[in-house]
């Protein structure tokens, strides 16, 4: 008995004169009441599956195949009107960006009511209130009168989950439903979704980039790579005994929050784009695979059957031999030299109209020291004041209380001397390379911008640029490119390279690996560890990802609503958290 069955499903993209398969010969089946996880990095084609079911493909994409059966009907051949009747009633969607999925100028009640009337609920008000109560939203009746911007992202997502389940659909497609949310909220959202799914015995297609999250949520997992399923099996088996080298590498490239610290596996390069796919004849993973051999590059890979566990690799026996190696050894920190000394630091923003002033304390009474060469992680949810702390350290905000000493001199004053100390001591890596790299400068000019400011002649800058690019593990010819000709991982390297140009003693990095695929994240973390050995800088790493902090930093500081609630050695804090908020954060991380 299957609810959804895809047989040889293909999605083809037309790029100029080329036709490239974005999804290739996909076979999936989902039984009623089960949760199937589609896991893959960006570009794997995982969202294409959901879009193919809804027939909402981007222009230039076409879907074909032997069949896409839903409850006995073929979605590929049925008239568009019939399919539309199914959507929202029998097949519901939970989107990735909850805030942009709700109409900002209409109340929750008006949007919920419209949906319920469409699916034929007579007493929509009572039904909406019941649905909102089922996702544990407080005061559901009052919520109907509110607008989306009055709710938090997590609340909006719960509203959307309530809407998706309100029509008692047979299938819910959740496309990265928690990616835009904080980790503690993610745990709550997943809990609510699981509860409703079990209550109504709904089948869920759960699309995510996070293998561990998928393993926690799903019964079965299908791992996608470059438009094809490479491994498909029961969630626990795939997580614990992966048989495809890609699955194994993916697991090894993400740092873990529990268990002994280990090294990260770094896959070379990145997933080929659609255009490049056309030129890879055999197994699409072969160019990056540690087990690849001549035969992989020629013959297309076959799907081996092993009970319920299918793998698209002829050498599953060798996968266990892929290992990540030991963790990067943290260099001994000389306890003597104090680089950053922050005492009683506070920042209060004043907002509102002249008639109704409001003061918001973004950072309150923060005290910490950072030794030369030490890596300190700052964790906390959005709005906890992490980024404000970074901006205060860099002199982008003026503190309203307390003192910052950088390399012995007080930089909380606001004068030329403080600015010079900062320039010589500290540099910052920004979160979003799209915004942090001037699109009109070439890479070589970006990484040597600090030398340009110091008036170094162009020929010397050119030489230094080649040196920095080599340091970043990038070929020198990339120096003449523009940022938008680079991949996301390369852009973030350039972003780091600019900050390292003058070899600062302190690097402040704000969420530099968030939003990147795990394989790219592993490359960057390895790069930071290597650069640290070469240049011996201290790092203040701001991150919402506890595992990344655990991997990279000796010490950690936990922030909540502008206050540091706990700080200490990373292994001690994570093994034995004292503050309830730290405990909550740690418990929210999916264990798989």
């Amino acid at each position: 008995m299957t609810l959804l069955r895809a047989e040889g499903l293909n999605v083809t993209a037309r790029i100029g004169p080329l036709t490239v398969p974005a999804l290739r010969d996909l076979n999936l089946s989902l039984a009623p009441g089960k949760v199937l996880g589609l896991v893959g990095e960006s570009g794997a084609g995982k969202s294409m599956v959901g879009r193919a079911i809804a027939q909402m493909l981007p222009p230039g994409f076409t879907v074909s195949g032997r069949g896409l059966h839903f409850a006995g009907q073929d979605l590929l051949t049925m008239p568009a009107g019939d399919r539309r009747a199914l959507l929202g009633r029998q097949i519901a969607f939970i989107p990735q960006e909850p805030l942009s999925a709700l109409n900002p100028v209409r109340t929750i009640g008006s949007q919920f009511g419209e949906h319920l009337r469409r699916v034929g609920v007579a007493d929509w008000r009572a039904a909406a209130i019941a649905a909102l109560a089922s996702v544990h939203l407080p005061d559901p009746a009052g919520l109907l009168e509110r607008y989306p911007h009055q709710l938090s992202g997590g609340m909006c997502q719960r509203v959307l989950i309530a809407m998706a389940f309100a029509s008692k659909p047979a299938l819910v497609i959740a496309d990265e439903p928690t990616t835009a949310l904080d980790v503690t909220i993610q745990a709550r959202i997943i809990g609510v979704m699981r509860e409703l799914q079990q209550l109504h015995d709904t089948a869920v297609l759960f699309i995510t980039h996070d293998l561990r999250l998928a393993a926690e949520v799903c019964d079965e997992i299908a791992v996608l790579y470059a438009g094809g399923v490479v491994e498909h099996g029961p969630a626990e088996v795939v997580l614990n005994e992966p048989l495809h080298p890609y699955t194994k590498c993916l697991l090894l490239s993400a740092p873990e929050i529990h268990g002994p610290r280990r090294g990260l596996y770094t896959l070379p390069e990145q997933m080929p784009g659609l255009r490049a796919l056309a030129e890879i004849p055999g197994c699409r993973f072969a160019p990056r695979c540690p087990l690849a051999r001549e035969s992989c590059r020629n013959a297309p890979a076959l799907l081996l059957l092993k009970e319920a566990h299918r793998v698209a690799c002829p050498y599953p026996g060798e996968v266990a031999s892929i290992n990540a190696g030991p963790p990067a050894a943290a260099p001994e920190v000389t306890a003597g030299e104090i680089l950053v000394d922050v005492r009683g630091l506070g920042k209060t923003f004043r907002t509102g109209t002249p008639f109704k002033r409001r003061a918001v304390a973004a950072v309150r009474d923060v005290n910490f020291t950072l030794h030369a060469g030490e890596f300190l992680g700052v964790v906390g949810e959005s709005g906890s004041g992490k980024s404000t702390l970074a901006r205060l350290l860099m002199g982008l905000e003026r503190p309203t209380a307390g003192e910052i000493r950088l390399a012995g001199s007080d930089v909380s004053r606001w004068d030329g001397a403080a600015r010079r100390t900062r320039l010589q001591t500290a540099q910052m890596v920004f979160q979003d390379p799209q915004s942090a790299l001037n699109p009109r400068r070439r890479v070589a000019s970006i990484v040597t911008q600090a030398l340009e400011a110091a008036g170094v002649p162009a020929a010397m800058r050119e030489a230094k640029a080649a040196e920095i690019l080599a340091d970043l593990g990038m070929p020198p010819e990339l120096g003449s490119r523009f940022p938008n000709q680079l991949s996301g991982g390369q852009r973030q390297r350039v972003n780091i390279g600019r900050a390292l140009c003058l070899v600062p003693k302190l690097l402040v990095a704000d969420e530099i690996v968030s939003g990147l695929d795990v394989s790219v994240q592993a490359q960057l973390l390895a790069l930071l560890a290597r650069l640290r050995e070469e240049h011996r800088f201290a790092l203040l790493l701001i991150s919402h990802d506890l595992a990344v902090v655990r991997y990279l930093c000796e010490r950690v500081m936990v922030m909540q609503r502008g206050v540091v609630v706990e700080q200490g050695r990373t292994d001690e804090v994570f093994a034995n958290p004292q503050h309830p908020y730290t405990k909550e954060l740690l418990e929210a991380v999916p264990k798989g």
Partner: protein, 282 residues
């Protein structure tokens, strides 16, 4: 490799039209065959040469003082293009400076510039330039000055919004963190980002300058009476439209062709240089 803007059909048509007007302006003494202010009071209001009663020496006929319409048309292009080529960049420089400083510095200076632009733009631009001309007196130089004084706001308002967006980018902050001073940040980081928009606005403003000059000359507050301008010709030809229609039609067509050239060029450049469109395409 031909840059993308040069492959746009609008840009090409606009450039061809403008190149034609420019060639005519430069070669006017050769093409006209006679001076534009040469009067022949015995042959006033002649129709075009191919019409009944026309004279082969005056291809488009003569005006009420017996001056050759064709010669005046060619010389008129000189004034139109001079005004476009000086007034538009002048307005651009003033507007861009104000926009850069207001958008980058923010605070009270931004407030001041913003309110000045609001007040300025609440006057109808033609009325404002008429008032200015009354105060300044006629003459090409004063026409240029009046257009600059009125139209800097067009640049300022649009560019300020763009500067606001660019100045909030992290790369501008990053430039400050590696030691760039404010002036260098403005010149090296912010200004290059607004250049495509600037070029587009400049081209469109040139078209506007041609129209404004024609209007001012039409009401007699533009160029001096002894200079030749299309607006003047229209004013002259208005009363004799039935006797000598080309006195009116020829300058109207000339203005149309010139302004269409600038607008097509500007529109084409906007489509192929617009930063937002380019960044959207990745």
């Amino acid at each position: 490799m031909i840059p993308r803007w040069a492959r746009d059909g609008r840009v090409l048509v606009g450039l061809v039209l403008l190149a034609g007007v420019l060639a005519v302006a430069l070669l006017a003494p050769l093409l006209a065959g006679m001076a534009p202010d040469e009067q022949d009071l015995l042959a006033t209001l002649l129709p075009a040469s191919w019409q009944e009663g026309g004279d082969a020496a005056h291809w488009l006929g003569t005006d009420s003082l017996g001056r050759d319409v064709f010669a005046r048309l060619l010389y008129g292009a000189r004034v139109a293009l001079t005004v476009a080529a000086i007034a538009a960049p002048g307005a651009m420089i003033a507007g861009t400076l104000a926009a850069l400083l207001a958008g980058y510095l923010g605070g009270w200076f931004d407030w001041l510039v913003g309110r000045a632009v609001d007040v300025w733009m609440s006057f109808p631009p033609v009325i404002l330039s008429l008032i200015l001309m009354v105060g300044l007196g006629t003459g090409t130089r004063n026409v240029i000055f009046a257009i600059m004084l009125v139209d800097w706001t067009r640049f300022c308002r649009v560019l300020r919004a763009e500067v606001l967006v660019v100045a909030r980018r992290d790369y501008v902050t990053a430039a400050g963190l590696v030691g760039f001073g404010h002036l260098r940040i403005l010149v090296r980081e912010v200004f290059p980002a607004i250049v495509p928009l600037l070029i587009t606005l400049l081209t469109l403003e040139m078209g506007i300058a041609v129209v404004v000059e024609a209007i001012l000359s039409f009401v007699g507050l533009g160029v001096k009476p002894d200079e030749v301008a299309w607006g003047q010709m229209i004013a002259d030809g208005r009363s004799t439209i039935y006797q000598a229609p080309f006195n009116l039609l020829a300058p109207v067509v000339a203005i149309f062709v010139t302004v269409a050239g600038f607008n097509l060029l500007g529109d084409g450049l906007r489509r192929s240089l617009d930063v937002r469109l380019l960044e959207g395409r990745g």
